[in-house]
């Protein structure tokens, strides 16, 4: 578009002005300049652009009316250039003030810096830069509260959420107490939560956390977005973008960058543009005035006149603290002279930067925190050029990314000096070198660089070590890596090398080894230095070595212990670490680490590191030389024992690990024990309690049986249900005849009454009946929760709200980001939740129930203990014919019969669970999978599809596990556990049931008790019930739930070998603020009275829901046979404590651990 065309469009009332301006962005730069010169301040032009370039207050800061996005870098750049050129004088003035402001800030003259900021505000208006720096200055001058107050003050006047978002981030970024990594994470989380487009996220990184992102590319987008910002911000971003484009060589060949940069240099007096011009021209076209003085200091350093450096640099820094390059020379001079750090006395900020650099260059113990602090400074002062120079220095010391070279280039361009280090890397070629030499004719620093980059044949006289260092650089730069290896191998053993030079030697030698394929040497160099001082490898690039290793057969490198150590140090994934571990063990010809012979023959630090950090379960579990998880744990314990001998200084660590692994193993065993069979019938209790009843009936039965065998006596069968059945079934008269004969035989009737009474006790006794165990161990939440937990852990199901509706599945709705598809998905997931819950309820409420011929409430019940008249008659006949004389024989036969029936039922249940029920789950899961495929949700969320498929496989296994519960178990147990392990086992089972609401109680076991026999599983059951109560009734979410569990023992009688005392278990948890404490207190008092009443029976033992206290009472009084126990509740300030007291008999065991036991 030409000027005339634009003019015509502008003044033609019928023309579409928006189209006119959008087309204008496609104009060539020269035309744009003409049009801008003529009309930039024209009211229609201003109206269309829609924002003030120099807003006078924060309210006017952003009025979004961005002109069309061209998606063309050169179009957006031209537009920005044309806009900025309208304000070149303003911008040049601003650049001067900015420099002055940054200098005063570093000097600690915050008042002076504030005055400049005020002046910038008056002259240039509000800008994002000004807001950012106002907040930063408040933080440093007046503290974080003033930073927050200022943010609040700004927020009152700013309506744009976009600007508010920026401000809030700038305020946080300025906060001294928010670390580099925390800000980075906060920033990443926000980006994830907002679900912002990746290109916008990239832009935000560019603005807020430059080093958080690699591969900036969408510069046209950044420039377009900033169209809405004041002119100062647009200019600063434009230069940042140009630097980035130049560094990353993403320039479009059709764009003449030289011309653009040259033009810009004609308009703006900006040292960064001058450096860009030097870079584009590949020689020093612009000499930065500050370079001469700085170069003389570089020369002092090159001439090893370190003392003079220490005298000169503080003076220069005090004069002009923006020359960050001097900071490095200063700290390196201190290190060369082996001096501790000393401040330059300018400001706290400058001294802290210097001291941190000193820590990093000397790789002392403060290295890590210094690196983090420096990164924080670079992040907070993101808009200051000196911080960008500092980033380049730091990047080369910490291998910030694979893009280190670009960070270094970034620091050269953002610097106010012509750095001779840019020779070779950025100013390439003899012309570039000669321009340096011409500009700084007497500089030894330049000649040394020239020597290193092969432009000079010799260097001025320096000491021997330095000469070899420079020679090494020369060989390295000339890619004579074999020769460089020889040079560096000689150097590395020189004890006089200071840390910075030693690090350089290690770095270059390492690269030489990699480039010449000497991989074992590279690995050794890496790991030996890591083990000596892990900071020494901070600047080594591990990826190149890994690539080279991958190209070879790793087994060929297995001879060195460094191989597995290397992969562990670089944080390779477990399998890759295993391959290295396996290669090393294969080379040694052993299968397990504990088989390694002659441990003394290895470097001690290396073998300790290998055993301690590499030979861990998560790596060893890939080895085929182990048979199970238990086998791996046992190996790990043996490794810890070896480490106790090798590394006694850290024995506590190894003892702790042994204890932890052992406890984990015990917990797993306990869980297995609890899960291996949940069906118990206390036959002994049944026999003993029924004996007296049966005794009398049995002798009457014997008399009647003997008499009725030969006499045709008739009696009334009172079991009406059976009678009813008989009467309704007349088809088979012979059968009926038999039945009637038996049914009217008084002996038979007596037998039947006895049999059915025992049968009913067997299944329904409140104290020891089967249904009580089914209720406590299976139906009381356990089965349903187990099944649910599997789907919950995969985030496939949700729970119902108070109104009975399934709540939204936020896990997936946060990921799908499409309202329409989310609605469909949520419907599918709700149906899925409902169908699964219905199926689980059906299993529990209908199938895992008991029924008899009298008790028919649950017609589908699988525990079917109905006995037909035939079956009863057959038993009766057997007993009568066998002529039992003792009622005990009779009882034995009946209970055996009932146990046999139970075994049949359990076989059937296992079969049903693993077949029919499994098919029902499979059908429900397939329906869900199909429903998400209908709208291609599976393609949008492949992880959802994976979760659904995984649930299908997992449910098969889970049903196998659940089926295993349906086995009869003995009333005894082989477990021997301490109280802490018992509690932890219950916590682990609970957490597996509530995978998304895990709790982490504080456990204080103050007893030395080891428990055995039934105490272990039964106390696990009790803890499970109490933990369930805490989760269900506290009203707290898992993340806010604080639980403390403690155990105490009255040990006043401990001196006796066997003594009775009280074990006290206490469970304390916080409560939701909405809890009615008074009501709760009353309710708990009532429960306590009932629990503590010895006369109270277990009326509701076979029913689920409620507090489960009756089940605890039954466990204590019946299963554990405890005759003295009690419970107490203490309701406090939104907390409740449950105290359970159990009288126990302790047996003192005089072994080495002096443990006591209950059994």
């Amino acid at each position: 578009m030409k000027l005339a065309e634009f003019k015509q469009g502008l003044f033609n009332q019928k023309s579409n002005k928006r189209n006119l301006f959008t087309n204008l962005k496609f104009a060539e730069i020269q035309d744009l300049r003409q049009i801008f010169r003529a009309y930039y301040k024209h009211p229609i032009f201003r109206l269309m652009v829609g924002k003030p370039d120099k807003p006078s207050n924060v309210e006017a800061l952003v009025e979004v009316k961005t002109i069309g996005y061209t998606k063309s870098f050169i179009r957006e750049l031209n537009w920005t250039i044309a806009c900025c050129e309208q304000y070149k004088s303003d911008i040049n003035l601003f650049l001067e003030k900015k420099n002055e402001y940054e200098s005063l800030f570093l000097q600690g003259d915050f008042t002076g810096a504030e005055e400049i900021l005020n002046n910038i505000f008056i002259t240039h208006g509000v800008s994002i830069w000004w807001l950012e720096n106002t907040l930063l200055l408040k933080e440093y001058k007046d503290g974080v509260k003033e930073n927050w107050s200022q943010l609040s003050e700004f927020s009152k006047h700013i309506s744009s959420p976009y600007v508010l978002f920026f401000l809030e981030k700038f305020s946080k970024r300025a906060e001294k107490n928010i670390s580099y990594f925390r800000f980075k994470n906060l920033f990443n989380n926000i980006a994830n939560e907002l679900g912002i487009a990746s290109v916008f996220n990239e832009y935000l990184c560019f603005k807020f956390s430059y080093s958080s992102f690699i591969g900036y590319t969408n510069f046209d987008y950044y420039l377009w977005l900033e169209n809405q910002f004041p002119i100062i911000d647009r200019y600063l971003t434009m230069v940042d973008v140009l630097i980035e484009v130049n560094l990353h060589h993403t320039k479009n060949d059709t764009i003449n960058f030289n011309e653009i940069i040259n033009d810009l240099n004609n308009s703006f007096n900006d040292f960064r543009l001058k450096q860009l011009q030097n870079l584009n021209n590949q020689y020093i076209k612009n000499v930065q005035q500050k370079s001469y003085e700085t170069m003389s200091v570089f020369d002092l350093y090159a001439e090893q006149n370190y003392l003079e450096c220490l005298n000169t640099i503080p003076v220069l820094i005090r004069q002009d603290p923006l020359r960050i390059e001097l900071y490095e020379v200063y700290v390196k001079s201190l290190i060369e002279l082996n001096k501790p750090f000393r401040s330059v006395g300018l400001s706290e900020l400058v001294d802290q930067i210097l001291e941190s650099l000193y820590n990093v260059y000397s790789r002392n113990e403060n290295n890590e925190e210094s690196v983090e602090w420096l990164l924080k400074i670079v992040q907070s002062f993101g808009s200051a050029s000196w911080a960008k120079v500092l980033l380049g220095q730091l990047a080369s010391k910490i291998n910030l990314s694979n893009d280190v070279e670009n960070y270094i280039g970034y620091s050269f361009i953002n610097s106010e000096i012509n750095n001779p280090r840019s020779i070779g890397n950025f100013i390439i070629g003899v012309d570039g070198y000669n321009s340096f030499k011409y500009t700084f004719p007497d500089s030894n620093s330049v000649i040394i660089q020239g020597y290193s980059w092969l432009y000079e044949e010799s260097i001025p006289e320096v000491d021997k070590i330095k000469f070899h260092i420079y020679k090494g650089r020369r060989l390295f730069n000339s890619r004579k890596y074999d020769l460089a290896c020889i040079q560096y191998e000689e150097l590395i053993i020189n004890k006089e090398l200071t840390i910075p030079y030693y690090e350089e030697v290690v770095k270059n030698l390492y690269q030489c080894y990699v480039k010449t394929g000497r991989l074992i040497e590279a690995i050794r160099l890496y790991t030996n230095n890591f083990l000596a001082n892990n900071y020494l490898v901070s600047s080594l690039e591990a990826d190149n070595l890994i690539d080279e290793i991958n190209r070879k057969d790793i087994d060929e490198l297995g001879e060195d212990i460094g191989l597995p150590i290397f992969f562990n140090v670089v944080g390779a994934e477990s399998y890759t670490q295993y391959v290295a571990y396996d290669s090393f063990l294969s080379y040694l010809g052993v299968e397990r680490p504990t088989e390694i012979q002659n441990l003394d023959s290895y470097d001690k630090v290396s073998i300790i590191y290998f055993l301690k950090n590499v030979c861990k379960s998560e790596i060893m579990h890939y080895s085929l030389f182990f048979e199970s998880s238990d086998d791996i744990e046992s190996e790990r314990i043996d490794i810890c024992r070896i480490l106790l001998g090798l590394d006694p200084e850290n024995e506590t660590e190894y003892y702790d690990e042994i204890a932890e692994v052992t406890q984990q193993s015990s917990i797993r065993n306990a869980i297995r024990e609890v899960n291996k069979g949940k069906i118990t019938i206390n036959i002994n209790k049944l026999k003993s309690s029924e004996a007296s009843n049966i005794k009398e009936s049995f002798s009457r039965f014997r008399e009647l049986a003997s008499f009725s065998k030969n006499k045709d006596l008739v009696a009334i069968d009172s079991t009406s249900e059976i009678l009813k059945n008989y009467l309704s079934n007349y088809e088979n008269e012979n059968e009926l005849f038999d039945k009637v004969v038996f049914s009217h035989d008084p002996a038979f009737i007596t037998f039947k009454v006895m049999f059915l009474e025992i049968r009913d006790k067997f299944i329904l006794s409140k104290e020891y009946g089967l249904d009580g165990y089914l209720s406590t161990r299976i139906r009381h939440g356990t089965l349903k929760n187990h099944l649910r937990s599997l789907f919950e852990s995969l985030n496939l199901i949700t729970q119902k709200n108070a109104e009975g509706f399934y709540v939204e599945n936020l896990y997936w709705s946060n990921r799908i980001q499409n309202e329409y598809l989310n609605e469909i998905l949520q419907d599918s997931l709700r149906n899925f939740s409902k169908e699964l819950d219905d199926l689980a309820d059906y299993i529990i409420k209908e199938l895992i129930q008991v029924k008899t011929e009298k008790y028919l409430d649950k017609s589908n019940a699988l525990f079917d203990y109905s006995f037909s008249q035939d079956q009863l008659g057959s038993v009766f006949k057997h007993i009568r014919d066998a002529n039992f004389k003792d009622y005990n024989e009779f009882l034995e036969l009946i209970t055996n019969l009932l146990v046999a029936r139970t075994e049949e039922i359990l076989t059937l249940i296992r079969e049903i669970l693993t077949n029919q029920i499994q098919s029902k789950f499979h059908l429900i899961i397939t329906q869900l999978q199909n429903s998400i495929k209908l709208e291609d949700i599976d393609k949008l969320l492949p992880e959802l599809s994976s979760a659904i498929l995984k649930s299908n496989t997992d449910i098969q296994q889970e049903l196998e596990n659940v089926a295993a519960w349906f086995n009869l178990t003995e009333q005894s147990s082989n477990l021997i556990l301490n109280i802490e392990t018992i509690i932890k086992t219950a916590v682990e089972i609970t957490n597996s049931i509530y995978p998304n609401n895990k709790i982490y109680p504080v456990i204080k076991d103050e007893t030395d008790l080891y428990l055995s026999g039934q105490y272990c599983p039964q106390l696990i059951y009790i803890n499970r019930i109490l933990l369930d109560n805490i989760i269900t009734h506290s009203g707290m979410g898992a993340e806010d739930l604080d639980v403390v569990i403690s155990s105490n023992l009255d040990q006043t009688k401990e001196t006796e070998e066997v003594y009775t005392t009280v074990l006290e278990l206490s469970y304390t948890n916080n409560l939701h603020q909405d809890t009615d404490l008074k009501k709760l207190d009353e309710k708990l008092k009532h429960l306590a009275i009932k629990f503590n009443d010895p006369e109270s029976k277990f009326e509701n033992i076979n029913f689920e829901g409620g507090s489960g206290l009756e089940k605890i009472k039954k466990i204590l009084s019946i299963d554990l046979n405890v005759d003295d126990y009690g419970i107490n509740f203490l309701v406090g300030n939104y907390s409740v404590e449950v105290k359970l007291s159990i009288r126990v008999t302790i047996k003192t065991v005089n072994d080495e651990k002096n443990q006591n036991s209950i059994n």
Binding site: S629, D630, Q918
Partner: protein
């Protein structure tokens, strides 16, 4: 005629039943052995002699039992098995048979066909291809038959 020995490494019972039933019906002279974990699968591969491996992608580390919970669930256990075979130079024609047509997570996912390309590239000497299994659609049977037939033709 010598029986063709196949090892199926698969922990999903329904899927393994379907595959075994299909092979038994379609290739009666094939003998299919089943292993259900990374460990038992690899051990069997190194101990026994097979003609073909049918490999699932995700599996537990150990065979599950009342005494073993299966250990870590290896999402890419199939690839680790391929790597181990390659590393130990155990060349065995292999078909990946999976229920997943997409692996990984939204922004970082890889489709089955992309995965197939990667595996073809990395293990071209013994990797035959992949089959997408669905319990409700029988197309996987045709695909599996085609791949098995290609092996037999070779």
């Amino acid at each position: 005629m010598r029986k063709i020995r196949i090892l199926l490494i698969e922990d999903d019972k329904k899927k393994s039943d379907d595959i075994i039933n299909f092979i038994n019906a379609r290739f009666p002279h094939f003998d299919v052995s089943l292993k259900e974990s990374y460990h038992s699968g690899l051990k069997s591969l190194f101990k026994e002699k097979y003609d073909l491996l049918l490999l699932d992608m995700s599996m537990p580390t150990w065979d599950r039992s009342p005494f073993e919970n299966g250990g870590e669930y290896e999402k890419f256990g199939g690839i680790k098995i391929l790597k181990e075979l390659n590393r130990k130079k155990k060349i065995l024609p292999t078909i990946l048979i999976t229920m997943f047509d997409n692996f990984g997570e939204s922004d970082n996912s890889i489709t089955l066909s992309q995965m197939n390309l990667v595996l073809n590239n990395d293990y071209d000497s013994f990797y035959l291809g992949s089959v997408f299994y669905r319990s409700d659609i029988s197309k996987w049977q045709e695909d599996l038959e085609t791949l098995i037939s290609s092996l037999r033709n070779d």
